[in-house]
Symmetry: C2
Subunit: 155 residues, 2 copies
DNA sequence: AATCGGATGGAACACTATATCATCGGGCGA
DNA sequence: TCGCCCGATGATATAGTGTTCCATCCGATT
């Protein structure tokens, strides 16, 4: 997802964001975040586990799931439900001070697997309005749009 | 989800819709659809399997997954990704003649589990516009809104 | 020192979904 | 009628995803 330099920057910003929030981005959590950020596409928990084992042979499923839970909780990553996979937040640390991420949407390419996070306020507003009309109090909305990315659609 | 009378009606309409499409709603598939429709909330594949075993002791995971695939394919049910569960389409057979369902959104109550399908064109249009702007060709969009339903929010 | 709480180690297990091969049975042409 | 094809089902095994539970460690507090 990110090149080495951008990744280091993102990790540093994550540290600062956690510090501001009184959360500890421990070495393990930071390492898992690094693995998520260096993946090309959303990455599954067991793929992360395999990579994590290179550095920590004793790692087991709870190791990675606990780290993922922390990163989700603090808005540093998102889960892509349709893929059962995780991806770095493209907007991590940029303000929104609440507990679990922020409104966002994903564009998932069926062909190449590229997944882009977008933040479209019109979509968010339409969802809020539709829920409101039903007397529903929104806490979080999953929006995952599947199809062909610009590159693959052109080919 | 539906009372016995409404369920029978829905099953009958499903048969007609399948006949029109040249698909066979076999006894097994019809039975699984019936189990989905009689569930109170979205129901998992293995819960369906347990119930199916009452009538078909030999049923196994592929039995139910194959039936679910057929029902999804023909737009008779939807999958709720956040719950890994399945729910009857509230609009089955009402026109849309394409292969895999239709644009829709779910309102999922965190407290009571009630899940309602809505069809909000403003949401669909906002999603189409956002994708268009990114040069993305939409094939299907998952919209799952989590929060508190009107009943639970009032309490 | 005693205690407490968050973080990690580690084994086992639960839940969700698919792969693969065998079998059955209706439709259809030789 | 016989043989063949093909979609549906039976049955076993396996893959993939996520959780529970208990133990341990370590720094902070009292
Ligand atoms: Zn984000
Ligand atoms: Zn693509
Ligand atoms: Zn529907
Ligand atoms: Zn509710």
């Amino acid at each position: 997802m990110l090149e080495a330099a951008a990744r280091e920057k993102a990790l540093h910003e994550a540290e600062q964001a956690c510090a501001r929030r009184g959360a500890q981005l421990t070495p393990l959590r930071r390492q898992v975040l690094g693995l998520v950020l260096e993946a090309e596409s959303p990455v599954g928990a067991y793929a992360l586990l395999d990579r994590l084992k290179a550095a920590r042979p004793g790692a087991a499923p709870p190791t990675v799931y606990r780290a993922l839970d922390f990163l989700l909780e603090h808005g540093l990553i998102h889960k892509v439900e349709r893929l059962n996979a995780y991806i770095g937040c493209s907007d991590a640390g940029h303000g929104h001070a609440h507990d679990h991420g922020h409104p966002h949407q994903f564009l998932i390419c069926r062909r190449c697997g590229a997944t882009a996070e977008i933040i479209d306020h019109a979509v968010a507003h339409a969802i809020a309005a539709a829920a409101e009309r039903a007397g529903f109090v929104v806490s979080e909305a999953t929006v995952e749009i599947e199809g062909l990315c610009a590159r693959c659609a052109a080919a």
